[in-house]
Amino acid sequence: MGTHYVGSLDAFKDKINAQGGSSLRYMGQRVPNVNGRGIVTGNVKYTTNVKVPGLLAAAFKRNPNGRAKITSVDTSAAESMPGVVKVLTGKSTEVAGKMNLGDEPLIAENDVTYFSQIVAIVVAETIEEAEDAVDAIQVKYEPQDSITDVVAAADKNPPVIVHTPRLITPPFEADRPNVINCFYVKSGDVQKGFADADVIVESEFDTSADPHGYIVPTSAVAQPHGDGTMTVWGDVQNIHPVPWPTAAGAADMPMDKINFIGPEICTGGFGGKNCGVPGVYAALLAKVTGRPVRVIFDDTRLLHATRPWCHAKVKAGAKKDGSFTAFEVTFWVGTPYVRFTMTVMERAREAITCTYHWGHRDLYPRPNVMFTAYDTYTNLCSTMSYRGFGVLESQFPHETAINMLADKLGMDKVAIRLKNITKDGERSAQNEIIRSVGSEGVFNKTKEMMDSWGPKPSVPEPWVVGRGFSGANKYSQGDMVHNLIFLKLRANGIVDIISDSMDIGQGMNTVSRQIVAEAMNVPIENVRKVEVNTSYVPWTSDSFSSSATVDMGGAAIVAAKNAKQQLFDLAAPKLGVKPDQLETKDGKIMVKGSPDKAITWGDAMTPRPHMVISGGLNDPVGAPNDYDGPGKNDYATGQALGPYFRLVMHMNFMANGCEVMVNKETGELRVTKFIAGNDVLPVNPTLCEGQIIGGGLYHGMANGMYEDIYIDKGAYLSRTLLDWKMPTILDYPKEGDTHSALVPVWGEYFGENPRIDCPFGGKGIGEGVDCAAVPCLVDAIHDATGAWITTSPAATQAKILKALGKA
């Protein structure tokens, strides 16, 4: 069995109890996943299992080219085919002019911008009839030049202007016709930093447009009720922020006429199910036909959206002793429509500027950092968030540049990092105070565990062995404004959690019960969680950005505090004491120090059968939410116009180490040992290890080694799991060769004052490990072969052979 280190939480017990905890009764415990029995018996309420009577099926006609003009769409044959209920094109009055997710037409009308864009939809009685009718739709295209080079697309005179007229005109760099937005950090004096440097490395990196690879396609069912209301079930990671309003928008209905219901567990999202796009079409089609409609994107499971393609140009400098002097980076990302790419580059800033001081504190008053990012229209496939907006794209070049510096200087990879690490309370290159910095502990623990591997094994020629190391940080972008939870306390001591916090496999159904059980001091069996919907469930947290535990937990501990106060206020006169003399355990309220002097929750709340208590970080008066608000950061320099605090963000720090074998003749690569560390107080170590080994290392290895995308004139050639290969169990290191380290550090939001604790000290986990894996693998390949690979995925046989000069 692999080594799975978990640091002690004892030192944090008092702080946890001060937030209303119950002395680690459930916090930090390996509670079994509450959905376990449902999962192994096939009884989970996944969205794909939703069926309602009279359900229609939808099928989509999609663009097989890159960029093209649509010269004609002939639906006449399709419309008269058996079972067909409705055929929609971009010219249909029901969709004309409607946009989704900002600037993307619901159905393309005159032009298609990217491969697989929807050009027509058929709704029919059965899926077979819908597919037959889609086959009968004749679309004529006039293919045009596509632009897939993100750097050329951002030029002032690009070979192709993707949208005419331009859909969004940025406030800066308006003379670059494809550029949607730009982000900058300008800190210190980069030129001086490079002039002072003893060594400088320069390189360019590509992170390709990797799909999320979820096995189950994203799906939805919409059912109109004939009275102006509609229910939509969607396989989504969140219901409130995007899926609900976009479904309402597509159906031309007020949001409050739609009840959007999430699954018991989302079938793997990885960022790709943040938007719930099928729900948009299901709602539209149900409204148009007046009947329930099922939409499943099974023909675009991989290419319904991808991580945006990113190119990075990097320059980094250091003194002989390893002190960093300056860092300069330019990013280009490409997308056919806006979607989320703006956020990608916005978040890349934190990843670049928070782990290390680029401009050692002994040498410079401020870090020397120049960061420029162009978010650019291209004819690449549609884009979506994927396990760390902009973090893999930025950590890969960033951490690899550090390994290149260490290599040039002959320094240890961990030592050079520890020398330059940002310390708790220091200001980043964006002039923000960084708190809850666990990088030193995580780096050291990971190195210690790697050292226990002993010397490298000897392997027969032409195999060679290498070991790699990488650090990383990952912001967690939470939400304090929409942060409300209801706890329904029953007379018999049961607590129902009424919250939209979605389980997407990370274990939120278990974690939320643990946090509430810890805060209310009740057996976890007495805590339950209701269906996630927009009808009566408040907006608590969004399952993205590794932030749900902190957001949900923040609301839960406030609600639990309110609940206990109300119970004590009711019980105090009945027990003849003051409320502050009371405590609660297992559904009873007792006088502190006199456990026999007790009544039950039921006794306290009688004659009520239950009480609903609300709580949240915005309750009762509303929390300040300064997240990147206007005037908070100077746009041209990225500098905080302090003092202000970012209530919505905390930072996670992680490290990866690996050992690989490379065949110098064939380019084959095997990962033989893999380890990841994360700085976190685990609510549930078992679930955290699952995030680290699975969503972290597995995804990192998949992204870093296997998932090449091939594009021909804008048309994607890698379309299914057969030609886009994710690693199987045989490709993954054996059970005993995957290791993890959970190094506890108390979680805090970063920014200015006041200091704000994360709930029970918890932080995000998982995504950052994914992002550290690619530079770690690249470092190991270099260690083995002497070749630096600067593309992700990095380690396909062809790329290794090329790097070795053999292809």
């Binding site: 376990g36 096939g42 359900l55 096995i215 189950v216 396609p217 597995y698 057969l722 199987t728």
Partner: protein, 246 residues
């Protein structure tokens, strides 16, 4: 190889190319995830390839007014499914036939549309939704069921082929409230995250353990190598299968 994407919209050719690809990849040994494909499965795949059968093209008739979700009664001693729909005036009759098979030991007699896969029969007609509707193209292994004890992919088999077959699904493992030891071990080792691939892993594991009660780690990995998990639970899946009954 790329011709198989947009499979559904490519009609018969998409399906044929898809099947061809499966066979070629299985034969050239590059695609490890198809290794576990039994010889039987390969034959069936090849048969589909050569005969060019596809869900879409096999029958060109229509399913007039048929509610796919019409559920057979499951749980009774004998299962009864939908009967052939009456021929509506002016519309060609649906092509299909009545088949007899066993699902989880219970006999089922049902009419099936010739375009349905076994997966659709199990999920939509019988109502056993524990076998996931996942990739649908034989790529991921999530819909693995046991046919006379051998693991096969329900999405790659036409329902109409299964006359006389003996099929086991995830719902058939537990005896009342008592879980099968493999299921117990998956819970104990948290061998899942979102859980959608777990039924397929468990069925593949059962096929292995029924043949060999104490397999090596390599044998376990080989046996489930046709099952993909994007949450990356492979190490705990191995641990769970190695520790069944312990």
């Amino acid at each position: 190889m790329w011709g198989l994407s947009m499979q559904k919209n490519l009609g018969i050719m998409g399906r044929v190319i898809s099947c061809l690809t499966l066979v070629l990849l299985a034969l050239d040994g590059n695609n490890r995830r198809n290794k576990k494909m039994s010889d039987e499965k390969k034959e069936k795949t090849a048969e589909k390839t050569t005969t060019g059968l596809s869900r879409r093209s096999f029958i060109t008739g229509t399913v007039a007014g048929l509610v796919v979700g019409a559920a057979a009664t499951y749980g009774a001693t004998t299962l009864t499914g939908p009967t052939a729909p009456a021929k509506p005036a002016g519309v060609e009759p649906v092509s299909g036939k009545t088949i007899n098979l066993k699902i989880n030991g219970k006999p089922l007699s049902t009419w099936v549309n010739a375009r349905w896969t076994l997966l659709e029969l199990i999920r939509d007609t019988v109502g056993l939704v524990g076998t996931p509707e996942a990739c649908y193209y034989g790529e991921c292994g999530a819909c693995t069921v046991l046919v006379s004890g051998k693991p096969m992919l329900a999405c790659e088999i036409f329902a109409i082929e299964t006359n006389g077959w003996d099929i086991a699904t995830i719902e058939g493992l537990a005896k009342g409230d008592k879980l099968h030891p493999i299921q117990e071990s998956f819970i104990k080792n948290t061998a899942f995250q979102c859980g959608v691939c777990a039924p397929g892993f468990i069925m593949s594991a059962k096929a292995l353990l029924d043949k060999k009660s104490s397999p090596t780690e390599d044998e376990v990995r080989e046996a489930v190598s046709g099952n993909l998990c994007r949450c990356g639970t492979y190490n705990v899946v191995t641990r769970a299968i190695m520790n069944v009954g312990k």
